[in-house]
Symmetry: D4
Amino acid sequence: MSYDRLTPDNAAVLFVDHQTGLSNGIQDQSLPEYINSVTALAKLTKTFKLPAVITTSAADGPNGPILPVITNLLPDAQIVHRPGEINAWHNEAFVAAVAKTGRKKLIVAGVSTEVCVAFVALSAAAAGYDVYAVIDASGTWNKLVQEVAVARMAQAGVKPITWVAVGAELLGDWRTPYAQEHGQLMADHLPFYGNLVGSFLAAKQG
Amino acid sequence: MSYDRLTPDNAAVLFVDHQTGLSNGIQDQSLPEYINSVTALAKLTKTFKLPAVITTSAADGPNGPILPVITNLLPDAQIVHRPGEINAWHNEAFVAAVAKTGRKKLIVAGVSTEVCVAFVALSAAAAGYDVYAVIDASGTWNKLVQEVAVARMAQAGVKPITWVAVGAELLGDWRTPYAQEHGQLMADHLPFYGNLVGSFLAAKQG
Amino acid sequence: MSYDRLTPDNAAVLFVDHQTGLSNGIQDQSLPEYINSVTALAKLTKTFKLPAVITTSAADGPNGPILPVITNLLPDAQIVHRPGEINAWHNEAFVAAVAKTGRKKLIVAGVSTEVCVAFVALSAAAAGYDVYAVIDASGTWNKLVQEVAVARMAQAGVKPITWVAVGAELLGDWRTPYAQEHGQLMADHLPFYGNLVGSFLAAKQG
Amino acid sequence: MSYDRLTPDNAAVLFVDHQTGLSNGIQDQSLPEYINSVTALAKLTKTFKLPAVITTSAADGPNGPILPVITNLLPDAQIVHRPGEINAWHNEAFVAAVAKTGRKKLIVAGVSTEVCVAFVALSAAAAGYDVYAVIDASGTWNKLVQEVAVARMAQAGVKPITWVAVGAELLGDWRTPYAQEHGQLMADHLPFYGNLVGSFLAAKQG
Amino acid sequence: MSYDRLTPDNAAVLFVDHQTGLSNGIQDQSLPEYINSVTALAKLTKTFKLPAVITTSAADGPNGPILPVITNLLPDAQIVHRPGEINAWHNEAFVAAVAKTGRKKLIVAGVSTEVCVAFVALSAAAAGYDVYAVIDASGTWNKLVQEVAVARMAQAGVKPITWVAVGAELLGDWRTPYAQEHGQLMADHLPFYGNLVGSFLAAKQG
Amino acid sequence: MSYDRLTPDNAAVLFVDHQTGLSNGIQDQSLPEYINSVTALAKLTKTFKLPAVITTSAADGPNGPILPVITNLLPDAQIVHRPGEINAWHNEAFVAAVAKTGRKKLIVAGVSTEVCVAFVALSAAAAGYDVYAVIDASGTWNKLVQEVAVARMAQAGVKPITWVAVGAELLGDWRTPYAQEHGQLMADHLPFYGNLVGSFLAAKQG
Amino acid sequence: MSYDRLTPDNAAVLFVDHQTGLSNGIQDQSLPEYINSVTALAKLTKTFKLPAVITTSAADGPNGPILPVITNLLPDAQIVHRPGEINAWHNEAFVAAVAKTGRKKLIVAGVSTEVCVAFVALSAAAAGYDVYAVIDASGTWNKLVQEVAVARMAQAGVKPITWVAVGAELLGDWRTPYAQEHGQLMADHLPFYGNLVGSFLAAKQG
Amino acid sequence: MSYDRLTPDNAAVLFVDHQTGLSNGIQDQSLPEYINSVTALAKLTKTFKLPAVITTSAADGPNGPILPVITNLLPDAQIVHRPGEINAWHNEAFVAAVAKTGRKKLIVAGVSTEVCVAFVALSAAAAGYDVYAVIDASGTWNKLVQEVAVARMAQAGVKPITWVAVGAELLGDWRTPYAQEHGQLMADHLPFYGNLVGSFLAAKQG
């Protein structure tokens, strides 16, 4: 029952199969919301300098290449192209890449939630990691599949979470050096917050 | 598996970041429903003379001041303005204020559900408190975030609840002195109940 | 195709069967939202000093008395208790009361949308009035009934509207004397707007 | 733009293909709601002694027999078993049966809304009848089909309506002899109203 | 992890505050669906001769009398009118009535789900009973409250269930003497099943 | 207000941009439902030997090739590959192909509803055709876009419809030679109907 | 019944009260979707060099400044700050600015749909303009208000539309010089389309 | 907390009461989606040569015969016609058939989710099997029943899952001999994936 937060020092991020083709099968949320959340998670990874591992499934086939927003934001992240394993945890290079991060808390997102995310999450939890599944930076075929995937992962001890909470845990305190960059990220991707800031500054200056 | 109810003697209420700006980001319920539930929770706190701790995050910035309905109803509640900590439990003054209530059961509500509520709830539970998260007197960015937040808190042993149930546990029995004030509260904030009373009195007098 | 707005001088408001019992049958919106909208419409009536006619159906029976919020806000409105007519337009006193207002634009709300509102609206339109049906200050048994009622009224030339639009047409310009009272009304019943004002004033004063 | 209500003297009811098999394809509302609405419409027909025509499509095949609740309530209604025509208006016996009612207002319900109801409604309107399509006493395969069917019929001048409004137009006034039977019908099929009556009588007697 | 089914010999049914007034506050399902499910549960109780305890909260006030369908179907059930206790388990007569049934499995339904049902369910579970909460034969103010109530009860080991599953566990086998009466119950309250039977018999006889 | 049905002799079908890429942007219905409806419409075209015109937009680019199910079922349909025109009606070959069908009733479906379908529908209606837009054999980016597209087309006199109604108008009577093939089509694509048939035959043979 | 499309030469765009404060009241769609659509409409305006008029309501008060994305994209658009008129059409400078565009087709979007958009749309239509209301680049307080606003505008001849359709009408043909910039816009704001392009290019190059 | 995947060697599939009549009562998803998922699960069973047990409840009565798609795809599966037991686990032949498969992981689907699936799942879990309940290849009367059934099964350790995840666990790696057949299955039943493949191949060949 202990609660220790995600920090820039204890967490790594796993981007699993956020590919252009697979992303077009998502119907558990709107595509603009999905892209917005994925972008926000990638920016959080960059802002907090978290080690990241990106993996793909048959990226030279119909599943398509990685969403460019991820690779553009995280040019140095290790990418593991899996030749066939559906569960990235079955790929030794991926497991090694995760291990090399030295982190024990894993933030996992991907497409689809019930396959690419759930399999990695369940495997990593079984391997002793503390796993967080970012449901809104992931996507799947319909709302029912999402609900079932969350229930299955929660049952196994994987923590369901969403990107704003990930960011809030990582930042921890608005007096840290990360705050300014994080604030901009929030304003850009949680639009009501950007609106708040705009209104506030105008009122101050008005 | 024991069940012991919330009482006026064993519970305190924590209002976490119910600020005007943050409240305008809520989309997991309608704003009239949210304001109605927050007001009801504040009135419950007043009716049952529960110790309350109010906390804010950057209240002099875009997040905005506390909803006036809370401070108007609870003028004597301790307010902890956090200079930067996102998780109120990381603020020593807040933890001390909670401890000073002497209560072991904590009723937590706030904005947003998955950050301000969940972090406090998870931390307080880890610290040994019995924590109730009031989901309808809280709010967040969309229904998915709410669902994920409830799942995460429930997984950790935090009890999800709604304001009517909080009030019913606190009252316990309609023969106590609190009943009249509580009845009025119910009539005002659970509108069907107010309608019932209006119809009943008219029928009796008709 | 001409468009001339509702004004304090050309419109009257008809409250049709907003009774405590009938209101408890509403499921096309939440009760807190319904009560909030009805209250707002009554306040608009008061603010803009619109002539109002209130009517009831069997108010001394199960349908129950008028919602007190209406009669409290509009103590001088004429009330026509119908002895049996379902369509208020079939009641001579009601039609006379409407005629006595001298207004050609009628703002109609009530319970239920497809009966009490639609029948009056269709009859009044047939009688030459320009009729506005306020859908969110009305209510009915489920969303399907609401949709069908709106389609039927729109088909017959009745204008579907909601309370914020009614208020905005009536005010017309924020430089009129009504503006201050109207602003408070908006802040109280469109909660996000109240939050905006609270944040703005705090930022100005901060 | 004239508005003249449905009355016991000017309206007939057409039940189109409310068959046991076809009814099991309905997904635009729940089955308990559908059966409840169909039963209420049949009782309205009986209460107000409206002429009724029942028709079926291949009732000795998979479409199944007429819902027994309809034939039980309306044992004297003429039944036209269509040997093949999908649009009942293409069946001479049906058109003749409708004509024989001598009524110019037709209340139409059936399964499915966009076929059996819409075809009859559009044909009858083209033939000069004033047609009301009872959407909640009808049913179809999903919500989209329902919405499209309502839009198509409304576009052609067919009036979309629901059963409670049909009953309210027919009754017209609670002081007519029909009132008692109609009140019981309402209490039985609009459950909140039955609850209102139960509460009212108890309060009166209490 | 053992699974032993509800049987006519090991289960009792608790009807908690299914009162006419309270029932009119339900918005987590339609009223026709709610009444249908409550009626079905009462019929199951009668069919399987289960001991039943009915309890009310302030039945001579606005909450109103028990739904007549329950008392009509179960005229011999013990009724405990609570003078003030919100949690029926705090009423000694109620607890004694439950104990007197001699059953260790309790099937609980009522209004509202998160108060009247949840409090009894949590208390009874704490007292060692095996508790089933029948969510569709219960009701509450909106879908969110329902979801939170289910989550809270499930967290505490109460089994969430719906009336068809209760009936199926009780019957166990279609070759028992209960089958005929149960089949009629299913046909009447799960309308698609009644339609299936009607179609089947017609096909057989056709 | 005349109503004359679609027949095998008076109607043609236009398939507008049902391409593999575009189809993956659909979120106003599930993809299995969309594919099912498109397939059914293509089969209807084949069954009733309707002239069909298929058109594509940049089929050798990201929009992708025509859904194979369409071309497989309708190998002889004329295909007009548009080099750039978004509105197919701006393409002379397309308009000529439509004219060559000699039909005055046009059944239009495509992706997306508000662009490819609506533009053709509005243009064809302006050119004097009687246009039917098949909403469930079309698709678009979200439910709001669908609703707005239907409203716009209905406003302009285009008839909104769904595939089952198209088929029912075309068949007209179950005693025509088309009936057997049409019945199989219905059983395959309106699954509840296939189930009905399966149950019926079993009961007959049982 | 004529249909003539929006073109770069016949249309102007009106941005009505897209202010930071007002935008935070939107609940008829998610904020990421709203911002995405508004941005897309502003980019369309820029791409097709459409004359634009931006107007605000009390922009130095709680309503807040214009969304920066609009003014950044359209630095040369005329801005009319209204001192008090709710309906921008009541402001002479605004009407003059619209007239000065010389365009007879007006594309209107704003916050809120039923006030700021509908009033301008109805007034402009009454003044003889051909008006298109862009529902997804507008926003309002809840889905019901949106539906009612669309019904009211459609009833008055205003054409409901969404941003992708606006863009498609403006582009007209992918062989025009606008195509490249428009394609990028589509890829950026209709994310599935961006994914299509990404997959296509990868497949081509792979 | 270990995670070991479903494999062709450790799993069996149980099809419980997927009968034509029962399937027509499903309202927790659309029928096209349900049939699509059931078909996919049957094809997965065939592709991976999993032992399967099919069982029916009163298949010669109104419940109807097994969906032909299942028996057509799995002609060699053992079928246990239960003479009366509702819970298939109470039928010795069924339990024996399951035992004879020699598998310890059971994939269960059926109609209805909360009865036929849940009872078998709970019983099998109690008997020591590792049970997966395939929610989208199952169906029930409404969404609430589905949610409650998932909650009850998850509480008891049954793993909720959907058919795509089942297939992905079984395949494990796209380099196995099963891949080609599995890919075709995915393309046929997860339509966006079929579209992806179609677009990809066209781009490659284009």
